[in-house]
Symmetry: C2
Subunit: 202 residues, 2 copies
């Protein structure tokens, strides 16, 4: 059965998004700084960071994400809205979007297809596993989606990119997840970020 | 002038002590787990962790700590009380204790002398610098003391020992410290902990 992974960038104070998140600013105030290592302003990703990014994405056969990460609000869908990610999203696999509002699948260029799941995190994971086959299922985010999978004991592996910034407010991934047992399995230093992979023990 | 450093063990959710701290349980519920890497139950500290611990302590000429870390409460001192640390505390230098209540210096075995400072963090640091000479001043803790020095821009270097546990509650070091500019300068992987040193930029 496919491994369930999550890789996510976190500030030193535990935030994966800044405060004042909105549909127009999904990462919140300062939240983009979490991703500078992966998407540097000068376009020159370091060799180490490029390798880590390749490692955490190359074996993914399906993603699961929250509706806000896709680009959805609380209400029913405006079906003309095709999400944040442009016409050729960077996933290249099925992406299962957790939502309360049904919607037909949305095929995009490059192999990404958004599929909307209204019956919860277990169902989304089962569908993602079926789509991924032997490849990994990655929980893409945001914070609330990661928390739900972590709290439910459904993650096998958590890969944190620890960024030396202090956001002060926003969304944390470990709030309310209980006391998961994590085993440190790999540490890689990028120039401006520390990549740490943990196994989630059962 | 001496460098001002701090090295501290932190959970993945940003806590340096667990909840329900008291005079009888200064690290709070679960807080001892933060220090397993440095003080393992079997006494067998790993070579890497031993080296890191040596690096962060060998050049220290004076420490600053909060009254609770010394072992003090809110009231005046009971002068028969000689702190948590036993008769030969592991500091071997002057230790400046922040308190609202004056007390005579308390010399201990092995070169440690607790000196009580009632006029605030700047004064404690000035006294510690004078005592340390060319060696480092280390802010020993607890959380509130570290926060005060970080918020005041008085730290030069912060060395985090990032421990893969989730405490869920307790004392955080980055709450209310503003937006310090930190530069990652060294990453070392212990078997069960990630040691990361940051320079605090001015």
């Amino acid at each position: 059965m496919s491994t369930v992974t999550c890789h996510i960038s976190m500030s030193l104070d535990g935030y994966v998004a800044g405060p004042e998140q909105s549909l127009h600013d999904p990462l919140g105030k300062g939240g983009m700084r979490l991703h500078d290592w992966a998407f540097p302003a000068d376009g020159e990703r370091s060799e180490v960071d490029a390798r880590v990014l390749d490692e955490v994405t190359r074996d993914v056969g399906a993603y699961v994400m929250g509706r806000r990460m896709f680009g959805g609000g609380d209400g029913p869908w405006d079906e003309s809205w095709r999400g944040w990610w442009g016409e050729d999203p960077p996933f290249h696999t099925p992406v299962f979007v957790l939502t309360h509002h049904p919607r037909d699948p949305l095929p995009m260029a490059g192999g990404t297809e958004f599929r909307f799941v209204t019956d919860g995190v277990h169902s989304a994971l089962a569908q993602a596993r079926a789509a991924a086959g032997d490849r990994e299922v990655a929980i893409a985010g945001g914070a609330s989606t990661v928390r739900q999978y972590l709290a439910a004991g459904l993650l096998d592996s958590l890969h944190l990119h620890i960024v030396p910034i202090v956001l002060g407010a926003g969304e944390r991934i470990f709030d309310g997840v209980g006391d998961p047992r994590l085993e440190q399995v790999a540490v890689v230093a990028g120039p401006t970020v520390t990549h740490v992979r943990y196994r989630v023990l059962r």
